[in-house]
Symmetry: C2
Subunit: 253 residues, 2 copies
């Protein structure tokens, strides 16, 4: 049984709390948050606290707060020989080095409040200050997911950047597609199958090979025609991404 | 039984040919292509021809060729009272107006040679020069898909632009994510669950609401940190899309 204390009250903390509560090898003994109110949804399932002095002994302490609060929360923890980790994609493991044993437990997924996540498929990137702790942390990760990766701080930062491209920016392009449909009285549901197939396709072929469309073909006529129909902001994005595609494939526009 | 002749030998033509061959209400009587070689894969399943004079009588002729060849193929067809349609997202229906009955049959999906598509879920946008033909074309569409939409030429062009954003450009962002992983010795499979969840999430919430990430939060520190780690081309894309997101949500960077 791995005893865990979770610190944080945001989306990721809630998702982690729920999956730990339902995991047999894990005993989530407390969830800490400076505001109890935002973790009320977990009441009855785990002990809720807002006082650092009440934090109990555990094997692993997980700091699951916003990037700029990690160091502050860490500084208030007195945990002796236990392992403390954070869950951030962009903060170095070293921010926790006032503790004896520290590391990172980075679940790479987009978490929303009201959306269930099958945690079993969420990739978790692990890093620890020493090998022995890696085994301990891996045990915890394996209790909730089958996709465990050893990822150092440098890689993790790059991975986070990659995630910004394939999640944040991709979602913004979905929003533009949605805007275009709405403006033209088209039910934007019509885009869902294309969006899903685009995402699933790259499991069986590299995105480099999967690329299609006017920019890939170097079809200047369509590109010019499309540009005329867009807002100024959409035009900028259309031009830049089309140029980036044509450069990648050695086409000339 | 709807008698169909298909003209074309590309990816879309192959996918359509296969689904028509397996559809009971449809009788695919011929596939025409100027090069028989590129449709050899269909031999034994349907009559293959490369001579316009051998084209048989049918109810619907589907011109499924590249945009710039549609008019040429259409000009060589003599079909009398039958309905002729093309499958393009960007070409007006009027390009076929030398015929008495014409329209558009636009399957909105990304088709690759070696990837099976569940055609039942492919949205098909229909347009015809008169109402009577719409019913005929709808019957054909319903034989292979449950997602039928009435889409006029102006809407179709806009839909095609939306598809460029949510398919072509999204795939290019996947390629950048893949590049970043490869450069840093990270197995890019780690991105798949995030990519899939990003795509599936917008079925239950609008992309506008699903937006997360540093630009959405107005987190200037992370943005600057990320920019330093990118190639010049990646920087341009990162900046433009981040600015577009912050503008959309009224944040300032």
């Amino acid at each position: 049984m791995i005893k865990v204390v979770l610190l944080g009250g945001g989306n990721v903390a809630h998702h982690l709390a729920r999956v730990f509560i339902n995991s047999t090898p894990v005993s989530l003994i407390q969830v800490f948050n400076r505001s109890i109110k935002s973790i009320e949804g977990l009441r009855g399932k785990v002990e809720l606290i807002d006082d650092y002095n009440k934090i109990k002994k555990a094997d692993i302490y997980i700091i699951c707060v916003s990037d700029n609060a990690i160091e502050k929360v860490s500084s208030k923890l007195t945990i002796g020989e236990a392992l403390v980790v954070h869950t951030s994609g962009s903060i170095s493991m070293q921010v926790l080095n006032k503790h004896k044993k520290y590391g990172v437990f980075y679940p790479l997924q987009t978490f929303s409040k009201d959306r269930k996540i099958s945690f079993n498929e969420v990739p978790i990137g692990l890093e620890t200050s020493n090998k022995e702790d890696y085994i301990k942390l891996e045990k915890l990760a394996k209790a909730i997911s089958t996709h465990i990766y050893s990822i150092n701080s440098k890689q993790r930062e790059q991975l986070h950047i990659a995630a910004v491209f394939v999640n944040n920016f991709v979602n913004h392009l979905y929003a533009i597609g949605d805007d275009i449909c709405m403006k033209n009285n088209i039910n934007s549901d019509i885009l869902f199958p294309l969006i899903k197939e685009t995402a699933h396709k790259i499991e069986s072929m590299k995105p480099f090979e999967a690329q299609t469309g006017p920019a890939r073909r170097g079809d200047n006529i369509i590109l010019k025609k499309h540009l005329k129909k867009l807002t100024s902001n959409q035009q900028d994005i259309y031009k830049l991404l089309s140029n980036s595609i044509t450069k990648k494939y050695g086409n000339k526009l």
